[in-house]
Subunit: 225 residues, 2 copies
């Protein structure tokens, strides 16, 4: 199933995740895929229930070739995924609007990853390690400072893992590409870039006086993106 004629192909490429259109925007190597996964902590999880696809946003973490999803044990999505059904995890980072001179050539600059597979539940030590992976993926430094999960909380939490073995990345960047004759049109063209920017932290109204915003929260601004 693996193809090796693509210089950027890696172990993640299968027929199901191969981009047919604009293959020059595709990548299948670990480093490209992992970099996109690490640029955000929000993913969209797709699964099928009674023939109907559902797409649910949720947080995730990555360690090596493993994606971890967590949530309430009572959650419909996690219960369904725990049974090993086919799942699709998609991560998208929106980088900007591409404004061309013709409406047809308008586009979006973005980086996305699509992962196919089956999730399996983690228990015991693996579950605790995986929960830490998710926490540290979302905001590095937080896990060490807060109260860890007790037995009741662990029971109320599900942690699933998904091995990244079948995945593709798609990247569009750079300026608009117009038809040659349209470059003479007088309208502005270019890219309106976007950035997901952390704002000033908002203390909990019940925060005790004298507790400063930690450095790892303050510096989050610089690390992400």
């Amino acid at each position: 199933m693996l193809e090796t004629d693509d210089p950027r192909a890696g172990g993640m490429k299968t027929d199901r995740v191969t981009l047919r259109r604009r293959p020059q925007r595709a990548a299948y190597d670990e480093s490209t895929i992992f970099a996109i996964l690490d640029a955000t902590s929000l993913c969209h999880v797709g699964f099928v229930l009674n023939g109907q696809p559902f797409v649910i946003p949720t947080s995730f973490g990555r360690a090596g070739r493993t994606i971890y999803l967590h949530g309430a044990a009572a959650s419909r999505m996690l219960r369904e995924l725990s049974t090993g059904v086919a799942v699709c995890v998609t991560v998208t980072v929106l980088d900007g609007l591409v404004l061309a001179r013709s409406i047809f050539h308008h586009s979006v600059n973005y980086r996305s990853v699509v992962i196919l597979g089956n999730a399996t539940p983690c228990e015991g030590e693996e579950k605790l390690r995986g929960l830490k992976v998710v926490s540290e993926h979302i905001i590095p430094g937080r896990w060490a400072e807060v109260r860890g999960p007790n037995a009741t909380e662990l029971r109320a939490t599900s942690l699933l893992k998904l091995e990244i073995t079948e995945a593709s990345a798609k990247i569009r960047h750079g300026p608009p590409i117009d038809d040659e004759e349209d470059y003479e049109l007088g309208c502005w063209a270019g890219v309106l870039p976007f950035a997901l920017v952390p704002q000033e932290p908002v203390p909990d109204p019940r925060l005790a006086t004298g507790i400063d915003v930690p450095e790892y929260v303050r510096s989050f601004r610089a690390r992400r993106r």
Copy 2:
């Protein structure tokens, strides 16, 4: 199938989209759902191919109770959706990280909408109107300034519509909610808000001199969010 005992219930609520957990975070009324859809132009589209769910990011537009999706006529997703298969369109706006004193009560502030249905292709005048809806949803003002689609471009483009009749919104906002005994812990707690912020526009390297960034691009900063 509709329930009317929920004060926020609207015509969008069915059993399949009803939130079982944390129903206080759910909404089914048009104004809440439309406001979230209008806060972004990125959605994640879920569909099933040979039993495997796929989740693909794409731009969308909304007019009234209709969602429009567009793309290359040759796109696998659009060809598949054109056949009327079950689809799920999910929109998520990430508002911030909720940092509690216990790892268990960490959360995310966000607004999301899940729409279930079946898409149908648009042709002729309806297609042109729908393409304008998508364009104006992404960046209002752009359609009037650029070269419109010619016959060849229209043939190469698919436009699908999806009526919003079965949908739910989920919203989490506000500070962390810790267990009462954890409020005495000495760690910082609160929200780290996020904003998707347009950056300085980047002119096309081939832009002719003397063409300024249009006001509707400059003011995009203030309108979105």
